[in-house]
């Protein structure tokens, strides 16, 4: 047998090199093919926002009441829509510690989306505590998502994010945002109402932090302005603030003092929802810097009373 390279050898080598490029190239943490920076995600509905509060005894009923007052979920979700729900699942805490979105709230929202005819429902969040499997189980959200028959994903890989431009940002000019959020037909923000060491409160605006990759960049640039900057480029269609049980001290992670307020606030105006939420803690929305900055950037109405439907 000749030692010279045969045609077959050359072909095998070529295929092997291509395979190496495919595998090696894809192993960079940027992942896959990166299209050029694109625009963020703006809510579909324009015009003045609406705000409603549900305060039933049951968390699920509160959700339904609040959403019904806004015209029902079918006002947001059309048949076959790809719906992305972003709860607060960051911390490995049990639901009654009020550090994460309560599973009953997620259940009700998922059911409402299904009833409105959603095609694919994805519950997604960029978790902070590890390992993510444990966090999703401890918060009760995995069990609830399975019960509701919706997908739940911990977005811990950079390849799930894509770079967007933030042209109106003062400190933040670009960021990496979840691809699923960017291509969703409906994006529902599902925050938990809590205090926060740096920002005093974390509500809807701050909850958006979980749809982007590099949290450290916001903290090192200046957290308050970064939150407001991001919201200029990425905003949900609907925000449903879980204020059934709120965290009063040692937020956002706790453990701390909790209070059963029993309210769920649904709104299309992210700033207004946050402004209302601030009052539950006895604070003025203008005193929360990121809410004030977002209002000044014309992202929403700080005087929520004008938008209240119910």
């Amino acid at each position: 047998m000749s030692d010279k390279l045969s045609r077959r050898d050359l072909l095998t080598a070529a295929l092997g090199t291509v395979a190496a490029f495919v595998i090696g190239g894809c192993s960079s943490t940027k992942g896959g093919s990166q299209p050029e920076s694109s625009a963020g995600r703006r809510p579909k509905t324009t015009g003045p926002g609406k705000l409603a509060v549900g305060s039933e005894k049951d968390a699920g009923k509160s959700v339904r009441a609040a959403v019904a007052a806004l015209g029902g979920m079918s006002a947001f979700v059309k048949k076959g829509d790809f719906v992305v729900i972003k709860p607060n699942a960051a911390w490995g805490r049990e639901p009654d510690m009020a550090a994460t979105t309560h599973p009953d709230v997620l259940l009700a929202v998922s059911e409402l989306c299904k009833e409105a005819g959603a095609g694919d429902i994805l519950v997604i969040d960029h978790l902070i505590d590890q390992p993510s499997e444990m966090v999703l189980a401890l918060t009760g959200l995995k069990k609830t998502a399975d019960k509701a028959g919706v997908r739940i994903v911990a977005a811990q890989n950079q390849s799930m994010y894509r770079k967007i431009d933030i042209p109106d940002g003062k400190l933040l000019k670009s960021d990496e945002v979840l691809k699923d959020v960017l291509k969703a037909d409906v994006f529902i923000n599902l925050p938990k109402a809590k205090t926060h060491g740096e920002t005093k409160l974390t509500l809807g605006l701050k909850n958006l932090m979980g749809v982007m990759w590099n949290r450290q960049a916001w903290h090192s640039n200046g957290l308050h302005q970064s939150i407001a900057d991001f919201a200029t480029a990425v905003r949900p269609d609907l925000t449903i603030l879980d204020a059934t049980r709120i965290l009063l001290t040692n937020g956002p992670k706790g453990p701390g003092e909790t209070k059963d307020v029993g309210q769920v606030i649904a709104g299309t105006d992210l700033v207004a929802v946050d402004a209302y939420g601030a009052t539950l803690f006895g604070m003025k929305p203008e005193d929360i810097e990121h809410i004030r900055l977002a209002h000044e950037a014309k992202l929403g109405e700080i005087d929520f009373a004008r938008l209240m439907v119910k």
Binding site: I23, G24, I128, Q130, P131, S132, E133, H196, G222, L223
Partner: protein, 536 residues
């Protein structure tokens, strides 16, 4: 090598299939599959209630338990009886006494790896198994005696030469992370990320890519052991393995012997085929402590003169161990010398009454670890804890614990914190260098203390709005106070367990503005004392 009978015809297929060598290979593969299976089981999985634990109630450190060298050196060095090691190790010892050094040929995963490497890479390069050198063969006995002597003087050295630790380290540092990388690379392609999401997170890997320090070093060692196969068959087992030496020593009265009948035609095939070169010039005689019962000699014997069967006759075997009194004394000297050097290495010196080592402020041990002296006696650097740690924070030490602590696990918070609600490392430690602890005990197990470097912290030295350390702390150990109009972070030493979540979260990397230091290590205090201290 197909055995042919004297008339030149191949032995019938049935005979070629149903023989002891085939059985041995099957058993070898079975044990290797078990080894891989147990390695895959060394991972944290969460049940529906949110409890993080091992996927199955099977001892993933099984191979360490049945390894008598691990049990012996650990118990001698620590001066303690470790029941679980006795329970699993004694049967192996007894079986070896009765049946010989079968462990090496039938069970040892490193042995199986070497056999596989031989089949795959080296078969064509060597025509015979090369003449044995009695000098190099004695090295393994010297290593064994040196290692045992060092253990007597409280210096754990078995980790350098124990085959089970070597193959497990190879799996963790050389195989695990690169295999994960290849699979994840496929999972991040546009094509597969939607169709096959399990490629990114599944039962074999955590959801994020793992990284290990010094993986090149472990790769080099592993490759060197495999490459030695090119020089002579089972080079490691013949010349260097102290476990093989130990098993060989105790198999002197083995009941299963190799007997050669009258039909032997002195063809010498068995001499060439013997993996361990246990058959020397006379095919009728063999060196019993070297025989690993691979049954190759019986397979190739053209006249079926060779048999390995239970027998009481001792006519045909020699029990040379190539160990003279002089060599034994030299080995003892090496062991004492190693222990003395290691114990007078500067890094071993501890400071004050706390027993904190002077070796490095970054010596952060896994929670539940025994105080340092006993930890070092017990830790065989098996790498199980480093594999199971869900954040990838446990890494092999280089100089942080001194030469005595080479490759022992240390927490590197900037890679991964010590996750709350996790006690996986304590569940996989084969020698209990990491003692069991409950998840809710963790807040009172202090492995270090975080310190804020105000010159680097962008809040203290920049008035920025950060406080990510305060936000992420699981134990309420970092709090803020408003100083000069800005909320700034402070560490409460009584609450800080040293988990390192703050260090891992800090935006300033790779040297974070808040770092965990070993002065907070409270292992010299009992769990009750630590709890009492933190609450005082």
């Amino acid at each position: 090598m197909k055995a042919k009978n004297p008339r030149g015809k191949s032995k019938p297929l049935r005979e070629r299939l149903y023989n002891m060598q085939t059985l041995r290979r099957a058993v070898q593969l079975l044990f290797f599959a078990l080894f891989i299976y147990l390695f895959a089981l060394t991972i944290g999985r969460t049940d529906s209630e949110g409890n993080l634990g091992l996927p199955a109630p099977i001892p993933v450190d099984f191979f360490f338990r049945i390894d008598p060298l691990v049990g012996l050196t650990t118990m001698i060095a620590a001066r303690k009886t470790i029941t679980i090691l006795l329970l699993y190790g004694i049967p192996v010892v007894l079986l070896t006494v009765l049946l010989g050094r079968f462990f090496c040929g039938w069970i040892c995963p490193l042995g199986t790896t070497l056999d596989a490497a031989n089949s795959l890479f080296f078969k064509s390069r060597r025509s015979s198994t090369s003449k044995p050198s009695f000098i190099t063969r004695s090295w393994k006995y010297i290593i064994l005696v040196a290692v045992l002597t060092a253990a007597v003087f409280s210096a754990q050295a078995a980790y350098l030469f124990d085959p089970i630790t070597i193959i497990t380290r190879a799996m963790t540092f050389v195989v695990y992370a690169p295999v994960q990388l290849v699979i994840r690379s496929l999972g991040t392609t546009e094509f597969l990320s939607e169709r096959a999401p399990f490629l990114l997170e599944n039962g074999f890997f955590y959801g994020h890519q793992f990284f290990y320090r010094m993986n090149l070093v472990f790769f080099a060692i592993f490759i060197a052991i495999i490459a030695a196969e090119a020089y002579s068959r089972r080079f490691w087992c013949r010349n260097l393995c102290p476990l093989g030496a130990l098993l060989g020593l105790i198999s002197q009265v083995s009941l299963i012997k190799r007997l050669v009948g009258n039909t032997c035609i002195d063809c010498g095939r068995c001499i060439r085929e013997c993996k361990m070169s246990a058959i020397c010039d006379d095919p009728r005689e063999y060196i019993a402590p070297e025989c690993i019962y691979c049954y190759s000699c019986t397979k190739v014997c053209p006249t079926d003169a060779t048999r390995i069967i239970p027998a009481t006759s001792s006519a045909t075997y020699r029990i040379d161990t190539d160990m003279t009194r002089r060599r034994a004394l030299q080995a003892i000297g090496i062991g004492i010398g190693w222990a003395a050097l290691v114990h007078t290495n500067l890094a071993t010196k501890t400071v004050r009454e706390t027993g904190i080592k002077s070796s490095s402020p970054q010596l952060i041990r896994p929670p539940g670890s025994l105080p340092e002296p006993e930890f070092l006696d017990r830790c065989v650097r098996c790498s199980e804890c480093m594999k199971v740690c869900p954040t990838n924070g446990l890494q092999p030490a280089l100089t942080e614990a001194g030469i005595e602590g080479l490759w022992t696990p240390i927490l590197v918070p900037k890679i991964g914190e010590c996750a709350q609600n996790c006690n996986l490392c304590s569940k996989v430690c084969p020698t209990q260098a990491i003692q069991p602890f409950e998840k809710d005990e963790k807040q009172h197990i202090f492995i270090g203390t975080a310190v804020i470097d105000r010159s680097q912290c962008i809040v203290w030295n920049g008035d920025k709005a950060c406080l990510i350390c305060e936000e992420y702390c699981s134990y309420l150990a970092v709090h803020f106070r408003e100083v000069d109009g800005v909320r700034r972070p402070f560490v409460n030493e009584k609450k800080c367990t040293g988990c390192g979540k703050c260090e891992s979260a800090c935006p300033i990397q790779p040297q974070a503005a808040i770092r965990v230091f070993s002065f907070g290590d409270k292992r010299h205090m009992s769990r009750e004392e630590q709890k009492f201290w933190s609450e005082s």
